[in-house]
Symmetry: C2
Subunit: 440 residues, 2 copies
């Protein structure tokens, strides 16, 4: 491969990913790609080759230093489809269901994010936590303040991350200090969108917090933004909690339920991601499917706030795009393994099954698919952006014991997801560059 010797990077180790998007999880097994002694060649932030070490080694320029991760497991960067960066500092706050939790913890905390330097400090910690947990792409709620959005995008841009984020739009039912107006939210969102959308790897999401905190006028403004910039994202919350749903009904009496509010303002569709969707009706599931809208499945958060059990199997069977989400700070962990462990329990409590390979897919290529980003991230295909994680599957004594007595790759993968946490993240690479390294 003459010509790229000065920027090329070669990674040797066990490589694992999913070859392509599947509609039926039963097809995953046929699409699992594994090289026990693999080679990944990267140039200028893109994968240019992957395969076995034996087949690929002759392609490498002489004298190139190899990143040798034998004994580790190299997988695509993990994808978190819903998280709030200003809530990092209230992670694990006690004892409420959704609406009380917002008033008691969330809103008072978010008030601090109008201070740019404070937001910068927190954005830095937030990005570090993502990378420490192997999350290379996230869809992120900022606060209502434009400063918080700039701070986050700047922090992500420094790491060359593929991150989607946006300014919260919220013009009612929250403390005055946190309210914008339909006009100011439109103006600020538009400016931020023009500044950040497609700037390097960054993408913008129009972000009405949820129907109860936006007036009809504000949702119209959100709709205008979506129509003006058709390739922009939308993110919001949907049907998390029964009392929330009732509240939406009373606020929007002319709409046919919660999702119909968003649908009416044309906020459903491709690149629209709805967090939670715990209590959708049959009709709403149909709308999700028909519009190509995605769900961010937040198992930890849904149990932590007592919201209920997401009908995961139904969503997948219906062909709705589903990504995994930590939902920090109502979720109590940044870690997607811990989140998958909770997802498994949510599914088990509904007497259904969730296989290890399906978990793995959901946190990588399936998550990318839910974010309409599977053309550029989610696996290690040549041409994809080189976001990947080097896993240490035996970071604790109990993991060592379990890894050693697991016979199949599937079993090993499952153990990693059941017992794994941030200690299993040995290295994180974004855009082909090392951005996190476990210190011990």
């Amino acid at each position: 491969m003459p010509g790229f010797a000065n920027t090329v990077k070669a990674v040797r180790g066990a490589l694992l990913d999913i070859k392509k998007v599947v509609n039926n999880p039963e097809d995953l097994e046929d699409n699992l790609r594994y090289f026990s002694d693999g080679l990944l060649i990267i140039d200028q932030g893109k994968v240019v080759w992957l395969g076995s070490w034996e087949q690929g080694r002759h392609r490498l320029p002489a004298g190139l230093r190899i990143c040798d991760y034998r004994g580790k497991l190299v997988v695509p960067g993990l994808v978190d489809t819903h998280i709030h960066y200003p809530q990092m500092e209230i992670i694990g706050a006690y004892g409420e269901q959704l609406l009380e939790w917002l008033n008691t913890y969330t809103f008072p905390t978010e008030m601090k994010y109008g201070d740019k330097s404070y937001a910068e400090e927190m954005a830095g910690l937030f990005v570090r936590e993502l990378l420490k947990n192997g999350t290379t792409t996230a869809m992120v709620f900022c606060s209502v303040h434009p400063e918080s959005v700039d701070a986050l995008f700047e922090a992500c841009d420094r790491k060359h991350m593929r991150v989607i984020a946006g300014k919260v739009m919220m013009d009612r039912n929250a403390p005055d200090e946190l309210l914008d107006t339909p006009e100011s939210s439109y103006r600020d969102s538009r400016r931020l969108l023009q500044k950040w959308h497609k700037h390097n790897r960054l993408l913008y999401a129009v972000t009405p917090r949820f129907a109860p905190t936006s007036s009809p006028e504000q949702l119209e403004k959100a709709m205008m933004l979506r129509e003006e910039f058709p390739d922009v994202y939308v993110q919001t919350h949907l049907s998390e909690n029964p009392r929330e749903i009732e509240w939406v009904r009373s606020l929007y009496p002319n709409r046919d339920g919660y999702l119909d509010v968003y649908n009416h303002y044309r906020l459903t569709g491709e690149r629209s991601v709805f967090a939670h969707c715990v209590h959708l009706t049959d009709k709403e599931w149909q709308v999700m499917k028909d519009t190509g809208s995605s769900v961010a499945f937040c198992p930890t958060s849904n149990m932590y706030l007592g919201s209920g059990l997401f009908k995961y199997r139904r969503a997948v069977d219906d062909g709705v795009r589903v990504g995994m989400a930590t939902d920090v700070g109502a979720g109590t962990s940044f870690n997607l393994f811990e989140t998958l462990n909770e997802a498994y329990k949510v599914v088990q409590l509904q007497k259904a099954r969730l296989a290890a390979i399906e978990c793995f897919y959901r946190a990588t290529l399936g998550g990318a698919h839910a974010l309409y980003l599977d053309h550029c991230i989610g696996n290690l295909d040549p041409g994809k952006e080189a976001d990947f994680v080097v896993l240490d599957p035996v970071a604790t004594e109990i993991q060592q014991l379990r890894w050693n007595n697991s016979k199949t790759l599937d079993e090993k993968l499952f153990v990693l997801m059941t017992l794994g946490d941030d200690r299993n993240i040995y290295r994180t690479y974004v855009d082909g560059r090392l951005v996190y390294s476990r210190t011990r």
Copy 2:
């Protein structure tokens, strides 16, 4: 304090415990005992004094080296009321509900524990995992093999631990290699009981696995043991899974439900601990209460195997003794903080509340109470056995952030339980001796 200078130990740090057993969790706040700069004096394995450093320092012999844990938090050793040591090596095994899980993973694994040297190796790892997680007392299922019981008690005895364990009695509905007979189970249990019950701090539990794997004849033998040795313990499983309950009905058609089987054979009562109790009827709750029987609440396991949500609030309101339990290997963590985090979710999903202080109580004095051991362990009262844990509340960056912005002790405690894991266990002391020290 003349006379004990050569064996005395003094621990300085923040001290936290619950003063006494309460019937109503609302009384816990009045019984929380906290010294921000405290002193704990130990002699010959017993607490002899606790209070503030200022009040206690003059009691110390001149020249005594102080174990200085300022900046850390000293709490009573944690109590795990239900765990299987031969299942440690199948922790996080995939994809089944109870009965399939037993046949697929548990039984094949337990076959190995007839080999004494293998059992010894695993018992050593098991005890290390307990101590690494701050668990100083546990109620443990061994396998059907007497060798497994000797191996475990020997390992616990070396650490001077207060542990309750017993040989599984199982004479049907399992692979032949794992079956005993009513007679052999009686003989072996009796011999082990006489060898280990009250040997140093160890206690024996008569351990029929669960009604489906014991014939009526075997349960009669268990009853004989209980009557012959009235201060011995009983441990078994109860009402974990709907199919299991149906099975019991078909196996014991003359009994009025699952618990009535145990009650008929007088296996209920003080020092009888029933794991799970997810699906008890009103009548069964009444029997639990009337007989002074205890529940081992296994939230992780109950979600992991899809068994259902334990009616925690009801149990407590009814005045039934409830302890926390990891239930490894169907539980996926040895850690009681992680287990409390799951307990919180189980309670939240039932639209009820579980306060931090109640979590803390449940894992310490409340657990000791469930095991009828609150006279000797569970808090730091003078006279109690000196089992305690030194917690590092800020073992990760995100914990640091949350600890610093938590205002009250209650909030800090809650954060510890929500975000905590084995990394928060800095030192573990058993019988006044240091038995585990975090290496980094």
